[in-house]
């Protein structure tokens, strides 16, 4: 009876002794994959420059993580796909015009990547411990430090190799400066405006323009349950609601006209779709309790519309998510999950 024991060293670990196949890196790489359709649309509309910018962001993000972890002798985690994802998201949030040697702005994406990965993520303890969405902090930092370079938008052109495209304003920019009538005029008619916004044939950040492509990726993530509806739907719902209530303007006086806004334009433009499905849903920086996520989504939506309608920037998705990131731990604390049996007990 003892020989059984001698032949085999037994491994002792704590229960459970079976585990699901899901891993952190599989999740990260799947999210990377789900961004591909939108990325390709970005390349299609903004050409090689877009490709260079995203590649630059990805490479500098992964390298900064590598060098930082080497320097402080931490375990290397570049294979888990999260630094790659940060780089990819940052790149998709930048204008393709940054690929320019005169004026020289190639360093801008690199700085953004270092800020995102090293300052926002690694300084706080690495994956899981950061408070803010790294890619968004990277972008916010760049927007404040390089306000000019960060707001040069080029016209989408299908000519892939065109390195010099005409500059123009984003739809939200036009809406803010010149109003709805002008925006419709630029796109021909209202229907065409919606269609172009949906396809992504408009000025904007590399990966944010094609709502169609983003929805394909988002649908995939929802289907695979990598994200749930709670944040994106409450986010988008709030934006639509507030756009309808407060987004209208009296064409003559220019004053706000209640219940006259066009929710569709607000839903389809800016970084909303990219933000709502891929950035606000970042596990680490959003609440973990589902009902807390609804509060988080509503908060993101409300802040986005506050900035879009009242603020100094035409677009508010980025700052809205970052602001709500601060509240995520608080929301989790306040809205702890319902303990089994406790709710019923109170009702009695």
């Amino acid at each position: 009876m003892a020989d059984v024991k001698k032949e085999h060293e037994l491994i002792v670990t704590v229960s459970p002794h079976v585990r699901d196949e899901e891993t952190t890196s599989r999740i990260m790489w799947t999210v990377n994959l789900s961004l591909l359709p939108a990325l390709f649309m970005g390349f299609y509309f903004f050409g090689l420059k877009a490709l260079f910018i995203t590649a630059l962001c990805i490479i500098s993000s992964v390298l900064s993580e590598y060098f930082f972890q080497k320097a402080v002798k931490k375990k290397l985690t570049i294979n888990d796909g999260s630094a790659f994802l940060t780089g990819l998201l940052l790149g998709m949030n930048l204008p393709s015009s940054l690929w320019s040697f005169n004026p020289f702005t190639i360093h801008v994406p690199i700085i953004g990547s270092v800020i995102a990965v090293v300052i926002t993520k690694q300084f706080f303890g690495g994956l899981g411990y950061n408070i803010f969405n790294p890619a968004l902090i990277g972008r916010a930092f760049l927007l404040i430090s390089f306000p000019k370079a960060m707001t040069i938008w080029t016209e989408p052109s299908a000519a892939f190799f065109a390195l010099d495209a005409k500059t123009t304003a984003t739809p939200l920019g036009i809406l803010k400066e010149d109003g709805l009538a002008k925006l419709i005029e630029v796109f021909g008619d209202k229907l065409n405006l919606y269609a172009e916004l949906f396809n992504g044939h408009r000025a904007g950040s590399i990966g944010e323009t094609s709502v169609l492509a983003l929805l394909i990726g988002a649908g995939f993530l929802l289907y695979k349950r990598y994200i749930t509806w709670h944040i994106p739907f409450s986010f988008l719902g709030t934006v639509a609601m507030l756009a309808w209530i407060f987004g209208g303007k009296n064409p003559e006086t220019g004053k706000m006209l209640l219940f006259a806004g066009d929710p569709l334009i607000h839903l389809l433009s800016g970084g909303l779709m990219l933000g709502a499905f891929f950035m606000a849903t970042d596990y680490v920086t959003c609440p973990t309790v589902r009902k807390g996520q609804i509060v988080f989504g509503i908060g993101c939506g409300a802040l986005t519309m506050l900035i879009r309608i009242k603020g100094g920037y035409p677009e508010g998705v980025m700052f809205a998510i970052l602001l709500m990131n601060c509240f995520a731990p608080l929301i989790d604390r306040a809205m702890k999950s319902d303990v089994f049996g406790a709710v019923k007990e109170k009702k009695k």
Binding site: P16, R19, E22, I27, Y283, R290, D332
Partner: protein, 436 residues
């Protein structure tokens, strides 16, 4: 089809029951010696009442209960007491145990068939359960007598027989339901009589349709007994989840099933109750599923309490060459053994042999990425992520704010965690360092 009864949360691990499912219960070889721990149950250990060298018969009491929450232990063989000393149990603790050398005579103390057992009074029946040393056989080993003695102000109106067997791999209860359904129903009737209730449920997970059929058939003339299919989901067999699924009552945090007027007993326990009431047979053997990808001949064995796991492994043909981990119990809540020389006790439902490549190593875990999966599935509605983070940082007191003590260590959270965090281990650590 009617929606199946269930609870909120839960997980779907691969059930792997095919490995041992179709192996009929077989009597295990009587071992040369048995090591019978004096503490096999939750509660006070027993006091030994035999001495070294004493000859005893099978079924003789060798340890008397050490308190109200306790249960006597009996010899599972006839033979001679050769040692009373501390031996390791499956949880790795040293417990006072009595070692008996088998004389292979299989001489019983006294077994009397009393076919009229159902005419006995509730108190007489309870006395039989007490004398037989019956404890919950699903794993927790809580003395059955205690559950059958609710305080006056807590009347019971329902008895549930737990046939969920939601732990993957295990098939002991399934085999009992397939082979001895009538006796299980009798056991339930006895329990109902002792408690004076007229509502009995038998809850069975829906992945065992043949067992549901068998039990329904066995209970067809019992209007007070309802056999219910349950959704296949872990931990469907946890007491609180089972009660909520079958009766819609939620046991409040920290409360007991009796607080919602329910008593739950496992299938094996019901059978033991029947045997005790009818024959006066003490709990000295139980069905153990020997299974897993790493064992040569999987089986469901009727094993004498005190048989060493090494003997059982040998009887089942030993390991395939890759055995890496041996678990006492199921894969979700069982204990990994560091040695095979530990005895089967009243609560041992299975022996699971996991091949080396199937083992998840403890070091390979990452930070919590706050994905929320564990929160979605925690059957108790807790935030396992926070419990694990606070415990990891040493903030054990703070973990109480997140209902640390409501966690019953079912392991669902650790199962789904993509970072492979040892959440159960961290919870246990915190629990051991703070007071409830």
């Amino acid at each position: 089809m009617m929606a199946l009864a269930t609870f909120k949360g839960g997980i779907h691990p691969p059930d792997k029951k095919d490995i041992a499912k179709n192996r009929a219960i077989k009597e295990a070889k009587s071992p040369q010696r048995v090591v019978i721990p004096l503490s096999q149950h939750l509660g006070a250990p027993c006091k030994p009442i035999v001495s070294i060298g004493q000859e005893i018969k099978k079924g003789a009491v060798i340890g008397e209960p050490g308190g109200f929450v306790s249960a006597p232990v009996h010899s599972s063989v006839s033979g001679k007491v050769i040692a009373i000393a501390e031996f390791p149990n499956a949880m790795g603790r040293m417990v006072n145990s009595i070692v008996i050398e088998n004389d292979w005579k299989e001489e019983w103390t006294s077994l009397k068939d009393n076919p009229d057992y159902i005419k006995l009074s509730a108190d007489e029946l309870k006395e039989k359960v007490k004398a037989a040393g019956i404890v919950g056989m699903g794993g927790a080993a809580f003395p059955t007598l205690v559950k059958l003695s609710p305080p006056k102000e807590k009347p019971i109106d329902t008895v549930i027989i737990n046939g969920a067997e939601c732990e993957p791999y295990l098939t002991a209860d399934y085999r009992l339901m397939m082979e001895r359904p009538a006796e299980i129903v009798e056991g339930l009737k006895i329990l109902m009589r002792i408690l004076g209730v007229n509502k009995g449920f038998i809850g069975i997970e829906n992945n065992k349709p043949d067992a549901i059929e068998k039990m329904k058939d066995a209970a067809k003339n019992e209007p007070d007994i309802e056999v219910c299919g349950l959704e296949v989901k872990y931990p469907q067999g946890a007491e609180k989840m089972l009660i909520s699924a079958l009766t819609g009552r939620e046991v409040p945090p920290r409360a007991l099933p009796m607080d919602v007027r329910v008593v739950v007993q496992n299938v094996g326990t019901a059978l033991a109750v029947y045997e005790a009431a009818r024959y006066g047979k003490p709990l000295i053997e139980r069905v153990v599923t020997v299974t897993g990808e790493g064992i040569k001949n999987p089986a469901n064995l009727m094993v004498k309490i005190g048989t060493l796991i090494s003997d059982i492994v040998e009887e089942c043909g030993g390991f395939k060459d890759s055995a890496g981990k041996v678990v006492s119990g199921g894969p979700m809540m069982g204990f990994a053994l560091s040695t095979l020389d530990v005895p089967v006790t009243k609560g041992t439902s299975g022996i699971l042999v996991i091949p080396e490549k199937g083992v998840v190593h403890a070091e390979e875990y990452g930070p919590c990425i706050r994905c929320g999966r564990c929160i979605d599935i925690c059957p108790m509605g807790l935030m396992p992520s926070m419990l694990s983070i606070l415990s990891e940082k040493g903030h054990y007191e703070d973990a109480k704010e997140y209902n640390l003590f409501d966690c019953f260590e079912c392991g669902s959270c650790a199962f789904v965690c993509p970072s492979k965090r040892p959440i159960v281990q961290l919870v246990r650590l915190a629990k051991s360092l703070v007071k409830p």
